[in-house]
Subunit: 151 residues, 2 copies
DNA sequence: TATGAAAATATTCGTTC
DNA sequence: GAACGAATATTTTCATA
């Protein structure tokens, strides 16, 4: 189980994973080795999944964000499987969740601008079989966008 | 401007930022120093925003994901500002985007389970002033969820 | 859990293209 | 300005107490 120190450590690493174990040890009142061992444990147990660099989307021309709600024409196993397999291939789709309610999937799509989005819709998304309908919602502003979950 | 090597480097770091410059240099056919200098440049220009650890939500009891669509009662400057300021304080809300369309905001919320979500709704979210209506959509399955944008 | 030595890595520097 | 290899500084890693 995770104790308070583990949780603190996870929160620190979610915010900046390039801190040295020495820096972490000072914040946690632990020795360098103790921090090191705890991190290794968290990695081994796959509580820490991976370490990544987060990129400023404005600077790489991928700041146009669209939420796309998708309904399939039917919910048979084959339709679901095919759709999901095809979605995984689309690099513009950063997230895709199967959801309950009025539609079947919510997709988060990052592209350069509206032109690129239209192109994506026409040539890639709607080329996937079994899509019944789509509804696009455009982001006007990013109020909050964090990868970390405070525990 | 970013050349092909920069883009490759960014993609590598988005996938694993703990690789040593030596490992990166082998994949990029560059010297260790050249890789080092390119990374420093990307950090300085804020193209790389930060380095973070990604946590397995299943293992920390935060795997219940809800998309919440919110409409404000009005769109005055004051209402928008107040709402956004309050949302930033809620640690359950990992993302919040101001959007066009049928509602004003899309929120992504991670909690433990439905009970915790109900509690969050009642005591935290709907306690915020100026919310007109909310509509919650629950994730059944995570099909794709990546922090990286391939460039 | 802590210490410290050994190994690996990051960082700086002088030089070349 | 970008790349390189050599040097130095720092950090990680691991055996041992």
């Amino acid at each position: 189980m995770l104790d308070t120190t583990d949780k603190k450590l996870i929160n620190l690493l979610q915010n900046d994973c390039k801190q040295t174990t020495k820096q972490l040890s000072l914040q946690l009142n632990l020795s360098v080795t103790a921090v090191y061992e705890r991190i290794k444990k968290l990695e081994k147990e796959r509580i820490i999944k991976k370490y990544v660099a987060l990129i400023n989307k404005n600077k790489i021309e991928k700041s146009f964000l669209v939420f796309c709600h998708i309904k399939l024409i039917q919910h048979s196993k084959e339709f679901v499987t095919t759709f999901e397999r095809e979605i995984l291939k689309l690099e513009e789709v950063s997230e895709c969740f199967h959801v309950s309610g009025d539609y079947d999937y919510i997709l988060k799509i990052y592209v350069k601008d509206m032109d690129e989005y239209r192109d994506f819709m026409v040539t890639k998304l709607t080329a996937i079989k079994y899509i019944g309908s789509t509804h696009s919602t455009f982001a006007i502003e990013e109020v909050k966008n964090t990868s970390s979950i405070i525990i």
